[in-house]
């Protein structure tokens, strides 16, 4: 479902983001992308959702070929992906319900469908009792669960998570991982960039290790491995 062929990204200031990446990720896989800060994890993630374009090489996702697709098709590509960030990126003046509904309004779903689906995903992440709260009234873990609910509301085929447990304590991180694995069991591909050694070691999945812009390890059921 996702393939990269000889993908490199060089920034305008000459810094190499990632170099010569070749990989394939199949539908329903759970993939960790690990490596120290500045290794190229974020570059890789941003290229997946077409925030950055490769300098050379080609990325393919489902029916989309990034090299040939037009800019106006990017929104439609993103509708097939959910993205979750370390800092949650919730809208502070909207309630929990509205934050999740927002993602569906934007893709022009009908109100009735939005209502049912939002309640459904909030139940999945265990926040059905807090739908009228504002983000500022929630803990970090709860905010991240809202962000995940928003990311899966449109039933994406892949969920991309950039350090989703980066700001959370171990117990809360565990809760988030439970949710991500549950989402994965519904055949949604999960691609998760992380620093969190405990998480990777305790929940083994495929590991892609990045160092200095190179993918140096690709291991099924791997461990975190590197020292930060």
């Amino acid at each position: 479902m996702i393939s990269m062929e000889n993908v490199s990204k060089q920034y305008e200031n000459g810094v190499t983001g990632i170099a010569d990446v070749n990989l394939t990720i199949k539908q329903g896989e759970f993939v960790y992308v690990v490596g120290p800060s500045g290794a190229g994890k974020s570059t890789f993630i941003k290229m997946l959702y077409h925030q950055l374009t490769p300098t050379t090489g080609d990325i393919k996702f489902n029916d989309y070929d990034y090299a040939t697709m037009k800019n106006k098709d990017i929104p439609y590509l993103r509708r097939e992906m959910g993205v979750v960030f370390q800092d949650f990126k919730l809208l502070p003046r909207l309630t929990v319900f509205e934050n999740v509904a927002y993602a569906m309004q934007v893709v022009e779903k009908e109100d009735a469908e939005i209502h049912d689906r939002v309640l459904e995903v909030l139940k999945e992440v265990g926040l059905e009792h807090k739908i009228r709260r504002f983000p500022s009234e929630l803990s970090g873990g709860e905010q991240q669960r809202v962000a995940i609910a928003r990311a899966i509301a449109n039933k994406p085929s892949v969920l991309i998570a950039d350090e989703p447990t980066g700001n959370l304590d171990p117990d809360t991180s565990d809760g988030i991982m439970d949710i991500l694995e549950a989402v994965n069991r519904q055949n949604t591909t999960i691609i998760m960039a992380t620093h969190n050694r405990d998480v990777v070691d305790s929940r083994p999945h495929r590991v892609l290790e990045v160092a200095s812009g190179q993918f140096v390890r690709d291991e099924e059921e791997g461990s975190y491995g590197v020292e930060d």
């Binding site: 990017i74 929104p75 449109n154």
Partner: protein, 309 residues
């Protein structure tokens, strides 16, 4: 696969009523939330449209009067005294056959004198009868003001013509002034409109900045650029429409006043301004339309930077 893409896109870009309702309510909310910024933008539009309205009303009417003057330009062909009726008839036929001539009217010298008496006073009555020093004249209308000169030259060479005079020179001078006035007026109007677009786009840029996080999230979850643009575009349009209210009222009242005082002075001259209706109706529509368009354009212009991929 291509058709699959096309289908997907079509379903998503069709503007559903529920979506439009959402955009509308968002745009109203944003107007309210921006409070004084909205007032500032509306005031900018008001001042601009007020000036634009006055300038346009002037340009339209100057055009109308100059057209009336143009239609009025004619060649006066004076006939030698004591010419027989038969010769006058021949002369009339010859005048009619000249190129660019559209109409030839005969006025006897006593009719000419009556015109002077009604225009300048009763003391001219002493010239009635055989003391009348005037000639019989043919009033020749031409298809354009420019043609009067050549028609006059041709007419002077005809038999029994004592003199052929034309108002062409004065008319041409007038048209030059009118043209200059119209061009400067239009240039001034366009400049004002650009200033208004700039002011509106600046105001909206501030409201966009305060919502840039929201726009970021919208793009992340797959909103199309047009979905993101709509609320801002509508907000700009409302700003423009609100800004048109005062100019519409002022132009309507002002024009009524000017129309009454000017037309009083012009009665009998054959020149007149546009009657208030439907002129003011179309002016109002035009001002409101310009307001909406500059508001919307201002909004779209200021959004460009935020919608780059």
């Amino acid at each position: 696969m291509a058709s699959l893409f096309a289908m997907k896109r079509k379903g998503a870009t069709e503007l559903k009523t529920s979506v439009m309702k959402r955009h509308l309510s968002d745009s109203f909310k944003s107007l309210r939330r921006n409070g004084w910024m909205t007032v500032a933008a509306v005031s900018a539009v008001t001042v601009t449209l007020l000036l634009v309205g006055i300038v346009l009303a002037m340009i339209f009417n100057v055009n109308r009067v100059s057209q009336q003057v143009e239609n009025d330009v004619q060649v006066r062909v004076a006939v030698n005294r004591n010419v027989s009726q038969a010769k006058k008839d021949t002369l009339q036929k010859q005048l009619k056959s000249l190129p660019d001539v559209t109409q030839v009217k005969y006025r006897s010298r006593s009719q000419e004198l009556n015109g002077i008496i009604s225009g300048y006073g009763k003391q001219w009555q002493m010239f009635r009868g055989d003391d009348n020093p005037l000639n019989d004249v043919f009033l020749v209308k031409t298809s354009s003001a420019h043609a009067t000169m050549s028609v006059a030259k041709h007419a002077e060479k005809l038999a029994n013509v004592s003199e052929a005079s034309y108002g062409g020179k004065t008319a041409r001078k007038l048209f030059r002034y009118v043209n200059t006035l119209r061009n400067w007026g239009l240039a001034f109007t366009i400049m004002l409109l650009l200033v208004a677009v700039f002011l509106i786009s600046n105001t909206i840029r501030i409201t966009i900045l305060s919502r840039s996080a929201e726009i970021g999230v919208m793009r992340l979850v797959g909103a199309t650029n047009w979905y993101i643009r709509w609320p801002f575009l509508l907000e700009g349009a409302w700003t423009g429409l609100l800004g048109a209210v005062v100019p519409v009222v002022v132009v309507d009242l002002g024009y009524n006043f000017v129309y009454h005082s000017m037309n009083m002075a012009q009665v009998g001259n054959g020149y007149s301004l546009y009657p208030q209706l439907p002129f003011l109706f179309w002016m109002d529509v035009l001002l409101a339309g310009i307001g909406v368009v500059i508001g919307a354009v201002g909004a779209v212009v200021s959004m460009r930077r935020f919608l780059k991929v």
